[in-house]
C-alpha cells in the first residue's frame, strides 16, 4: 500500500489574487521578507499496487485527467510506502 500526496498550484504565469492578499497580510504582520506566496490544494489518497512505478503511473494519470487542469494548474506529488 502506498500513500500519494498531491499538491496542485496555479501555474506561475497565472495571477493568484488569494496568494497576493495573504502575502499582503503577512507583510502587515511584519514578515516583510516573505515573497511569492501562492495558494494551492493538497489532495491525498492511498493506492494498492505492487510497485512504486505503477503508483507513479496511476497518480500521474489521475493528476492529468481530474485532479488538475493543465490550462491553469501545475501539480507535484510524493509517494510514501505505508
Amino acid at each position: 500500500m502506498y500513500k500519494v500526496k498531491v499538491t496542485v498550484t496555479l501555474r506561475k504565469t497565472i495571477l493568484d489574487p488569494q496568494g497576493k492578499t495573504v502575502e499582503h497580510s503577512l507583510h502587515s504582520l511584519g514578515y516583510t521578507g516573505i515573497s511569492g506566496t501562492r495558494i494551492g490544494k493538497y489532495i491525498e489518497f492511498f493506492i494498492e499496487a505492487d510497485s512504486e512505478d505503477k503508483v507513479k503511473l496511476t497518480a500521474d494519470e489521475a493528476c492529468k485527467k481530474l485532479l488538475s487542469n493543465p490550462v491553469m494548474e501545475d501539480y507535484t506529488f510524493i509517494i510514501e510506502k505505508v
Partner: protein
C-alpha cells in the same frame, strides 16, 4: 412552429435549470425536457442547455466533476456532429473542463462573487446565437458568479480573435477576464459558452428581455 427540442441537463447542484426551462417552455413555447445527468442519454433533443448553478458543489474545480458525468459523453458526441450546445455560467465552466471550448474560468480577480446586471457588447452577430442582435450592440444581461474570469493562453486568444469566436465582451469587466471576454463559441460555431445569464433577461415581467433574442434565435434556427 419551431422543431426545436430542448434538453436541459440537471446535475446535483444545478440551480438555473428551472429558469431556462421556463423560458423555453413557457415563453418560447417549445418542446422542453429536463435531462438528469445519470441517464447519459440526450434522446431526441436538438438543443442542449448546460445551465448555471454549482454542479457537485464546485468541488475540486468548478465544472470538473460534471465534465466526467455520463451525459457529457453523449453531449460530446452530439456536439462533434454539429449539435447545438449552450453552456451558461456553470455550464460554460463545464464546457471548458470537458475541452469542448478552449480555456478555463478562474476565480474573479477581485475575489468577490459578483451578482448584478452588466453591459455586454455583441462582438460578432454572424452566429446562430447572435444573429438577432446588431453588431457591436450593447445589451444588459445579469451575471452571478465567483469564478467567471475567463483565461486562455495568448496563442489561443489570438485564435479566438482571428476566428471571430468571441461573441460577447464586457463593457465594464466585472471579473478580470482576458480581453474582456464574456462569451465564446467553438470553431465549428455550434457550441456557446457564456458567463452572463440570458435566461434571466427573457421575461418582460422582469423588465429586461435582452437575453431572449439569443435563445429565440437558436430555437428559430432549428427548422
Amino acid at each position: 412552429m419551431s422543431q426545436a427540442k430542448v434538453g436541459i441537463v440537471v446535475f446535483p447542484g444545478s440551480n438555473c435549470d428551472h429558469d431556462a426551462y421556463f423560458v423555453f417552455k413557457d415563453i418560447l413555447k417549445v418542446d422542453t425536457k429536463f435531462l438528469w445527468h445519470k441517464e447519459g442519454n440526450i434522446e431526441d433533443r436538438n438543443i442542449i442547455i448546460l445551465p448555471g448553478g454549482f454542479s457537485y458543489g464546485d468541488y475540486l474545480r468548478c465544472g470538473a466533476i460534471a465534465s466526467f458525468s455520463n451525459i457529457l459523453k453523449d453531449i460530446t458526441s452530439f456536439a462533434k456532429k454539429g449539435g447545438i450546445v449552450i453552456g451558461i455560467c456553470n455550464g460554460f465552466q463545464v464546457l471548458c473542463e470537458t475541452g469542448l471550448l478552449p480555456g478555463v474560468l478562474l476565480r474573479n480577480d477581485n475575489l468577490k462573487f459578483v451578482c448584478k446586471t452588466v453591459s455586454l457588447k455583441v462582438e460578432n452577430n454572424k452566429s446562430i446565437f447572435t444573429y438577432k442582435y446588431g453588431v457591436k450592440e450593447d445589451i444588459n444581461i445579469p451575471v452571478a458568479h465567483g469564478e467567471g474570469n475567463y483565461y486562455c493562453e495568448e496563442n489561443v486568444l489570438q485564435e479566438l480573435i482571428a476566428k471571430n469566436q468571441i461573441l460577447f465582451s464586457y463593457n465594464d469587466n466585472p471579473n478580470g477576464s482576458i480581453h474582456n471576454i464574456a462569451g465564446i463559441q467553438n470553431e465549428s460555431r455550434n457550441i456557446l459558452g457564456m458567463m452572463p445569464h440570458p435566461e434571466r433577461a427573457s421575461d418582460i415581467k422582469l423588465g429586461n428581455t435582452d437575453g431572449l433574442r439569443l435563445l429565440q434565435g437558436v430555437v428559430e434556427s432549428i427548422i
